[in-house]
Structures are given as C-alpha cells and as structure tokens.
C-alpha cells in the first residue's frame, strides 16, 4: 500500500526553549496564504514564531490580523443572534474593533516589558507575537461559535449568555497567552515576570473594552453606552438585575 509522504513533525510548544527555532526543516517552510497562517498558528506555532523572528514578517502579521478580524466578525455575528435585529451587525463590528484597539493600546507596553525582560525582540516581532495572540484567540472562538449559537437560540437570560461568552473568551485568551509566553521563551529573556504582568494588563484592558463598547449581547437605544462603568461594577449590576428578574418570575410561577 502506498503511504502518503508525511510532513516532518515540528516540536511541541512545550519544547520551545529546549529546541532552537528553525532546527526542524518543517519550521522553515514558508507560510504563503492566510489559510496557511491560520493552520500554522494552530498546528505549528513554532513555524509562526520562526517566520516572525527570521524573515520580514509584514505579510504574516497582516495575515494574522486579517484572521483575527474575520474570526472576530464571525463570532460577533453568532453573539449578535442572541438579540437579533441591529445587534447582528453591531456585535461583530464591536468585537472586531474592541479586539484590535485593545491590542493597539497594549502594544507599546508589551514592547517595553519585552525590552525590560532582556529579550532582543524587535518592535515588528513583538507586533507579530501580539497579532498571533489575537489570531489564535479569535480562531479558537470560532471553534466555540456553534456551541454559543445553540445556547443563544435556547437561552433567554442575558447574564447566563454573558457568562458563557466570558468563559469562552477566557479559554481562548489563555491559549493565546500561552503562545505569547512560548514565543518570548524562544528569545531567552532574563525574566518572564514582565510578560506575565503585561498579560494581566492585557486581560484587564480586554475586559474593560467589552464593558466600554457594550451592549454586545443585549440591545440598547444607542450604539455606545452613555454611562461609563468599570467592568466589575457592570457585572455586579447585571447579576443584581438577573437575580431581581428571577425573583419576579418565581413569584409569578
């Protein structure tokens, strides 16, 4: 029986520090298309790291930003089905804009933290790592999209749906951050504390961004909120409203 020639295996992400980038010829294969970039970020993260580190990575960075934007749009559409109507276009726009702007806000501090930790990464390389983080998170969100859609169709509670999307976002972002840590580890920094502190800042910015561009799930008369709130206060308000709503429906039953 003829066996198909298999592509040489790339080392796992956990081997990032032990094995130098590009030591496996598979990692050096060019990433030509957007689809190839999406596949590489999932299956061969070290190949992405190699190309961000060694070649001129502008095309790859654009490809990953495009992946993040496209997947964000799709996931936003699914999130928008919960309320329907104008949220079908508002939610995708808000998710994509929020994702990209929060990345832009955090880019200067990521570069500074990278330098402070002793890593020799260039600004374009750091931008590439951030784009890969956003792309990987967004691609993973697409994986969750069918599940989210099923729940959207069958759930009425805004708070429950919010918690579900938050859970998916936490899982997707933690995989994105895992890629970022591994990418910086390949550059042999003196310390990783700075990158971990930055990760906390990034998570806080994204959580606040979700609140700043609300509503994403529910409906509102205005596109953006008129009242400014911190995300914890917003969550507590939502929880309070939900508990009051449940109490009223129980009383009716």
């Amino acid at each position: 029986m003829n066996e198909l020639p298999s592509a040489p295996e790339t080392p796992h992400l956990s081997q990032s520090i032990a094995v130098p980038l590009g030591s496996n010829p598979a990692e050096q294969r060019p990433i030509g298309t957007v689809v190839a970039a999406a596949e590489a970020i999932l299956r061969e993260p070290r190949r992405v790291m190699y190309h961000l580190h060694n070649s001129s990575p502008a095309r790859l960075i654009w490809a990953m930003l495009l992946i993040a934007a496209f997947c964000g749009l799709l996931y936003g559409l699914v999130a928008g089905t919960f309320s329907g109507k104008e949220q079908l276009w508002a939610a995708p726009v808000k998710i994509v804009v929020g994702l990209l702007i929060s990345g832009l806000i955090c880019l200067p501090s990521l570069y500074i933290f990278s330098c402070l930790s002793g890593s020799p990464a260039r600004l374009t390389e750091v931008l590439g790592f951030l784009a890969a983080l956003l792309a990987l998170s967004a691609v993973l969100l697409i994986g969750f999209a069918p599940v989210a859609w099923i729940f959207s169709a069958s759930t009425e509670s805004l708070t429950a749906m919010g918690a579900l999307h938050l859970g998916f976002w936490i899982i997707a972002t933690s995989f994105g951050l895992r890629f970022l840590y591994a990418a910086f580890a390949t550059l042999n920094p003196k310390s990783v504390v700075g990158i971990r502190v930055w990760a906390l800042i990034f998570v806080l910015v994204q959580l606040q961004m979700m609140t700043a561009i609300r509503p994403i799930l529910g409906r509102s008369e205005s596109f953006l909120p008129t009242q400014k709130k911190f995300f914890v206060a917003h969550w507590l308000d939502c929880l309070g409203n939900s508990v009051r709503g449940d109490a009223r429906s129980t009383a009716r039953d």
Binding site: P108, Y111, C115, L116, V205, A212, K228
Partner: protein, 239 residues
C-alpha cells in the same frame, strides 16, 4: 560630524531598556551633545504623553499643562541634583566625572520616561472609561486615576533604578558601592523632586479646584511642612 558611536538613535533605545552594560558603559565614557539631546528629547516625549493622559480627566487645558509640567519636573530634578550627585559618587567610592554621573542619572530618567510613555495609551483608555468630572462618582474616579498613576510611576521608577543599579555596579565593580551611590542619588532626587512636585501641582487637578498652571500658593510652604501638618492634624483629631 560626530562619529556614529557618539550618537544615540531611536533604534538604540531598546539597548538602554535591556540594560546592556557594555554599550551603555561606552555612552557614559564619551560625552556627546547629540546623545544627551536625544536622551532629553525621549524623556520629554515619554513624560509629556503620560502627563497629557493623566491631566485629560480634569480638562483638556489641564492635559496641556501636565504635558508641559511633567517633563519639566523630571528635567529640573535631574539638573537640580546634578552637582550634588556628581560629588557624592567619588565620595562613596566611584570615581566618575560630573558629565558621567549626569548622563547616568539622565539615562535612568529616560528609561522611566519610556516606560510611563508606553503606558500612556492605557492611561488614556482608563480616563476614557472613568466617570466624567460632573458625575456623582467624581471622588471615586479621582482616587482611581490617582492610584493607577501612582502604580505606573512606582513601577517605572523601580525599573529605572534597577537599571541604574546595574550600570553603577558595572562601573564600580562592587555591589556595595553601587548600592550606596544609588541610595544617595535616590535620596537627593526624591528630596528635591517632592518639593518640585509640590510647587508644580496640580498634575491631575482636584475636582473642586479650578484648572491652573500653578496654584496661587505654589511658592508658599513646602512639601515636608504639608506632610508634617497633615500628620499633626490627624493625631490631634484622634486625641
């Protein structure tokens, strides 16, 4: 024309942030006007961006004032303590020239400025999400802006001083000497810096007071008197 090694371009700033001892040692050894100018410019840009972000919560005018005052505070502190710092270094065991000590302090302030500058988009984002001045939560908003500002400045200060300590250790070859000089320089900078902060207030701008470049009583009293007065008032209230 100055040789290339004597200038400091933007692309060399990461070397400064990483604290690479050998090239920084070379920069310290050779005084260059263009390098000093580049460091001053980076300090001005970084601190002005952060100042604008901090002041923008109170008013656009306050943002402009703070963008002007924050770089001024840093540069005046550097210049005001330059002579003393230059004298303290040889007395504490590091025989460097005045220009070298000035450049070392300036380098650490440039690192500080680049860090706070990189946080300015985050600060703008925070201000954008903070309830405005006219709202009922003004006091909470003011305190949160103040807290975040202090946290960022503290982090940048610590990071800059760690790099300065590494540089001093490289120059002196002894950790104990480097520590002594760092503490002496820090004490001088903090002593003058606190008073300059007092004179140049407001930076964020208290919600109840008008937007001003300097308070009318800027040159009346000093920071330490105010701290002493606050402590005695607090103690007398308890009794």
């Amino acid at each position: 024309m100055e040789p290339r090694s004597a200038t400091l371009s933007l692309s060399e700033m990461p070397v400064l942030l990483r604290g690479e001892a050998a090239p920084i040692h070379r920069w310290i050894d050779q005084w260059s006007n263009s390098r000093a100018l580049c460091l001053v410019l980076m300090t001005i840009i970084g601190t002005a961006l952060f100042g604008a972000a901090v002041g923008s919560w109170r008013d656009a005018l306050q943002a402009g004032y703070t963008a002007l005052k924050f770089p001024l505070l840093i540069l005046l502190t550097t210049l005001g303590t330059a002579l003393l710092n230059g004298m303290l270094a040889p007395l504490l065991g590091l025989n460097i020239r005045f220009s070298q000590s000035l450049l070392a302090v300036l380098l650490s302030f440039t690192i500080f400025a680049m860090i706070v500058g990189s946080f300015s988009p985050l600060m703008f984002f925070l201000i954008w999400n903070t309830p405005p001045m006219q709202s009922a939560q003004t006091a909470t908003a003011y305190r949160s802006v103040l807290l975040v500002q202090v946290a960022i400045i503290a982090f940048a200060g610590i990071a800059a001083n760690v790099r300065l300590l590494q540089l001093l250790e490289h120059l002196s070859g002894k950790r104990s000497v480097a520590f002594k000089i760092l503490f002496a320089w820090l004490a001088a900078n903090l002593f003058l810096g606190s008073q300059l902060c007092w004179i140049m207030r407001p930076f964020i701008g208290s919600p109840g007071l008008p937007v001003q470049f300097l308070r009318p009583d800027a040159f009346r009293g000093n920071f330490y008197e105010a701290v002493f007065y606050s402590i005695t008032t607090l103690l007398s209230q308890k009794n």
